[in-house]
């Protein structure tokens, strides 16, 4: 293992954070969660965000995924300064550039696998045929073509997470954010999901930022970023 402060290698940055701060307010009390975060993540990186509970890793993930706003600093992701976008522009930006993978999969229970994957495409303006082709492609990629008409309750946890991954990549985003993607899976399924994410990074060039507590999961990333009490502590390059 090679330890180096915040050096994530070369390449054009896809994420640039400058002096990012984030605080929450509880009545009159300001609770700082992130402070002075400076970070550049190159395109094609695979990052594991690690740290103890309350260190701010999920908050940082939310900020760079555009579902939360910083209280200070600038945040450029996929060529857009997110602070300059209003809520609707930010929604459109997320649809085009970010895919989400959640710990609990968060599939819509009344839609089958195909329809769940198709959801983000409904707002892209793609026609029915185009949508069908895209969904077929990504379901093939996650090896779930034969389960496409099954509902979430008819799928195993591992299959559900693979559907969620297919949904995350169906719009061909540059960035995938994953919050504890294997947290609800057994070891075998977790390994399959991590292998799939690794393929997406290696073969499709997707930039992945994953929050995890699990050192085994983090080992699949190329770099680990450790946070401690809201500040960047260190980065670790993973040698495999």
């Amino acid at each position: 293992m090679n330890t180096d402060r915040f050096d994530l290698g070369g390449g054009e940055p896809i994420i640039t954070l400058r002096d990012i701060a984030k605080s929450y307010w509880r009545e009159e009390l300001e609770i700082p969660v992130l402070q002075g975060i400076d970070l550049e993540i190159p395109a094609g990186a695979y990052i594991a965000l690690m740290g103890p509970s309350g260190s701010g890793k999920t908050t940082l993930l939310n900020l760079l995924a555009g579902i939360d706003r910083p209280t200070g600093g600038s945040l450029e992701v996929c060529g857009h300064e997110l602070n300059d976008l209003d809520d609707d522009q930010l929604a459109a930006w997320r649809n085009a550039h970010v895919g989400f993978i959640f710990q609990n999969y968060n599939l819509v229970p009344v839609l089958n696998a195909f329809e769940n994957v198709e959801l983000p495409l409904l707002i892209t303006g793609a026609g029915r045929g185009e949508r069908r082709d895209r969904v077929d492609q990504v379901l093939q990629l996650v090896n779930l073509t034969d389960q496409m008409f099954n509902y979430p309750r008819q799928l195993s946890g591992g299959q559900e997470q693979r559907v969620a991954i297919a949904r995350a990549i169906v719009t061909d985003p540059d960035l995938l954010v994953a919050d504890e993607p294997t947290g609800a899976l057994d070891a075998k399924n977790a390994e399959e999901v991590l292998a799939l994410m690794e393929r997406l990074n290696r073969e499709l060039g997707k930039t992945i930022v994953m929050v995890t507590h699990d050192p085994k999961a983090a080992h699949h990333a190329r770099h680990q970023i450790h946070l401690e009490k809201g500040v960047l502590d260190r980065t670790v390059e993973v040698n495999r």
Binding site: N62, I67, A92, W93, F102, L111, E115, L122, I123
Partner: protein, 388 residues
């Protein structure tokens, strides 16, 4: 997948809850549609344009008291009056007491002139009318009543009296068609038959129906007739036909206020029930809404989807309620139309359908908007508890 499919599937996520709320919507819209139509029907009874120049002269003490038929002569002398028809409610039934319909003993010589719109006199031939006038045991019946009982011209209709101790056997001489179904559920026979069969009715009648030449003569006539018979043994109460009918409707109490009160209660109740259901349904989907927004659905798009669910829900419930009300109206017309002629006109009118559907959709939008708006304004990170 199309948007409508997404909305429908979301709506059917809890089938039991959706069916229950649709059921309460059906019941509410049905109740409101039927009650409002009842009000419309009753209002039509007391607002008949054909009766604008007709008066009813009856005993001041009530409908059960008789007036001398001799009053007819005075009425005929009034220059404003075109014709006078003596009319007595007979109250008989055909074969079975449950087979009840409106039947009258009436002055055969003037009835066609007095009620020419109701009998569709313009479409009758002189020969048809003469057939009735010639036969003292003849009767005329409306087309709906004849159809219901399978009667045709020449058939004998035995009536059993309930008020008067006679059972006339009447021969149908004329079947008339009327512009209004309620006017087709009536039977008239010669007044002489009642006078001859019931000695106490000799020279007496329950009411006179008077047709004036012009509606503007009515107030003057009312005042003159009642003044003429004031302080006599048989004082009169003269009123317009609409006022006379209104007195019948008022026997039911202030039905308008009752119906509007029930309607308001139903609307408020269904608004609360729908609002509570939608709020619960939306609250259960907090995470899902956050996921939609994370995937790039804007807050306004998610709000539109949720509103569409609410509108679809009440649209289905409202449509079924209106459909059921229409079926019920048909059943009411068939079962009560003969006994109570104004029910023959009972229908769910397009204006009532429009009002019910507008109201239902308004409830759907209002009940959905508040929880949906709150849900879509909630920070995504709050909704995504797993991430937060």
């Amino acid at each position: 997948m199309r948007w409508l499919a997404l909305i429908w599937k979301s709506l059917m996520r809890s089938k039991r809850r959706t069916l229950l709320i649709v059921g309460s919507l059906v019941l509410s819209v049905f109740t409101v549609a039927v009650l409002q139509s009842l009000l419309t029907t009753l209002n039509a009874v007391t607002d008949n344009p054909n009766s604008s120049n007709r008066l009813v002269v009856r005993h001041k003490s009530g409908l059960t008291q008789m007036l001398p038929r001799a009053y007819e002569a005075f009425l005929r002398q009034q220059p404003e009056i075109e014709t006078v028809c003596a009319l007595q409610w007979f109250g008989g039934y055909y074969q079975d007491p449950r087979n009840f319909f409106a039947n009258f003993a009436s002055d055969e010589a003037t009835i066609f002139q007095t009620f020419r719109e109701e009998f569709g006199v313009a479409n009758l031939t002189e020969a048809q009318i003469k057939d009735y006038l010639r036969d003292g045991a003849g009767c005329i019946v409306g087309a709906s009543l004849a159809k219901k009982n399978g009667w045709k011209v020449g058939d004998v209709v035995p009536l059993t009296g309930t008020i008067f101790p006679i059972n006339p056997r009447l021969t149908i001489r004329l079947i008339y068609k009327s512009p209004k179904p309620s006017d087709e559920n009536v039977l008239h026979f010669h007044y002489k038959l009642l006078e001859e069969g019931v000695p106490r009715m000799k020279g007496l009648v329950g009411s006179f129906w008077v047709r004036a030449h012009r509606p503007e003569d009515i107030p003057r006539l009312i005042e003159r007739v009642d003044r003429h018979y004031a302080n006599s043994a048989y004082e009169t109460l003269t009123e317009t036909e609409n006022a006379f009918n209104l007195a019948f409707v008022k026997m039911l109490g202030n039905i308008g206020a009752i119906i509007q009160g029930i309607t308001a209660a139903v609307v408020v109740a269904i608004l609360i029930v729908t609002g509570n259901t939608m709020a619960t349904a939306i609250r259960e989907r907090t995470t899902e809404i956050a996921v939609f927004r994370a995937m790039g659905f804007s807050a306004s798009r998610v709000l539109s989807l949720l509103l569409a669910e609410g509108v679809l829900l009440v649209g289905v419930g409202g449509s079924l309620g209106v459909l059921l009300a229409n079926l019920a109206a048909g059943a009411v017309r068939g079962s009560l139309g003969a006994a109570m002629p104004f029910f023959a006109d009972f229908a769910i009118l397009p204006a009532t359908v429009l009002a019910c559907m507008t109201g239902a959709l308004g409830i759907g939008v209002l009940a959905t908007f508040i929880p949906a708006y709150a849900a879509t304004r909630r920070p995504i990170t709050d909704g995504l508890k797993a991430i937060g």
